[in-house]
Amino acid sequence: MDIQENKSTLNVVPRDREKIKKIGKTALILALITAAEFLMAFTMPRGIILYVLFMALTIWKAKYIIMQFMHLGDEVKPLIYSILVPIAFLFWLIIVLIKEGSDIFNMRWF
């Protein structure tokens, strides 16, 4: 047991250029999508089309963060599904609460 305080006892593997390049590419995509969102916020007219585009781009970014940065894409299939499938419940909540909100809108202002 010749483990010393400040000396690595593990084999250090040299840097893999390919992997670092892939990380850089993902980062670039995230930055570009965010920049595109900014451009759209100032150039496009406000309305449902713009909001749907924003949500689509956001979910696209989320996909990159979860699959590439959090490496969920590298896990086994059952683990991927056990994380992603429960999120489907949220779509129900979104539909129901937006309906509820617009009903309150009608009650309050008309």
Binding site: L10, V13, P78, I83
Partner: protein
């Protein structure tokens, strides 16, 4: 006894759980972190979907942007509320500062991935370097958010004249500066309440993240993970940190863009 496996990600100490099996081919800690994050996804989703519901229950400001005045009758346009940047007073710079915050958080997420990648290679120097950059990004983001909150609370120089029910239950008309939980000069009371609770809860997560990042940085630097034989802790804290970034992506879209 001290025979370390050289294959990446395989060591006698990780992998197999107490029952002699390895469910879902993930270590116990990593799996539990994933399920914690799933529960946190639901918490934040509840916050953000509530924001959407309250948002659609108010009419949006419809007039020209140059004539925008805050009112509790309609929801404000975010780029007209969040248009200030530090050090220059009175300059209209819509979304510039939050944009900067977003890029800082994404950048710190990238350095975190690099730290995790270095951890896979057992490269202590690289882990320490990238953890430190991530830490810098996290602390910078927190500082930016503190400024953002402070500006939001203190408000504009002129304020806005509003009619509202004050804390004594009386209907009053007066000039309102900034924001609190009862009234604010930007929009309906719910606008500021949701801002405080959602960005506050996110900021709380970032704070916890920064503490975890520091612990991880420190342990990596003094060689705890070398002695342990693997850098899995970097990976687990990395998962949490990416999640914080993920939530911010949604907060950014819902609060500042829509």
């Amino acid at each position: 006894m001290s025979a370390h496996s050289t294959a990446i990600g395989v060591s006698p100490k990780r992998g197999v759980w107490g029952g002699g099996n390895e469910p879902l081919k993930a270590s116990y800690g990593k799996l539990m972190m994933w399920f914690f994050l799933l529960s946190d996804i639901f918490t934040f989703a509840a916050f953000l979907i509530t924001y959407l519901a309250i948002r659609v229950s108010y009419p949006a400001y419809a007039g020209p942007a140059t004539e925008f005045v805050g009112s509790n009758e309609y929801w404000p346009i975010p780029e007209l509320v969040f248009d200030a940047i530090p050090f220059v007073h009175g300059v209209h710079a819509p979304l510039v500062f939050v944009g900067l915050m977003t890029f800082i958080l994404i950048a710190s997420s990238v350095t975190m991935v690099l730290a995790v990648e270095a951890g896979h290679r057992n490269d202590r120097n690289d882990v320490v370097k990238w953890m430190l950059w991530t830490l810098v990004g996290g602390i910078t983001f927190l500082g930016c958010q503190a400024w953002e909150w402070s500006h939001f609370i203190h408000g504009s120089d002129t304020g806005v004249v509003l009619t509202y029910i004050n804390d004594l239950g009386r209907n009053v008309t007066e000039t309102v500066f900034g924001a609190n939980l009862l009234v604010n000069e930007y929009g309906p009371a719910s606008f500021a309440n949701l801002f405080f609770f959602i960005t506050g809860f996110h900021g709380f997560h970032v704070t916890i993240g920064v503490i975890l990042l520091f612990l991880c940085f420190y342990q990596a630097a003094v060689g705890v993970y070398d002695r342990r034989g693997h850098y899995e802790m970097v990976e687990k804290i990395g998962l949490y940190w990416h999640f914080v970034d993920l939530v911010w992506v949604f907060v950014f879209t819902l609060f500042y863009l829509i």
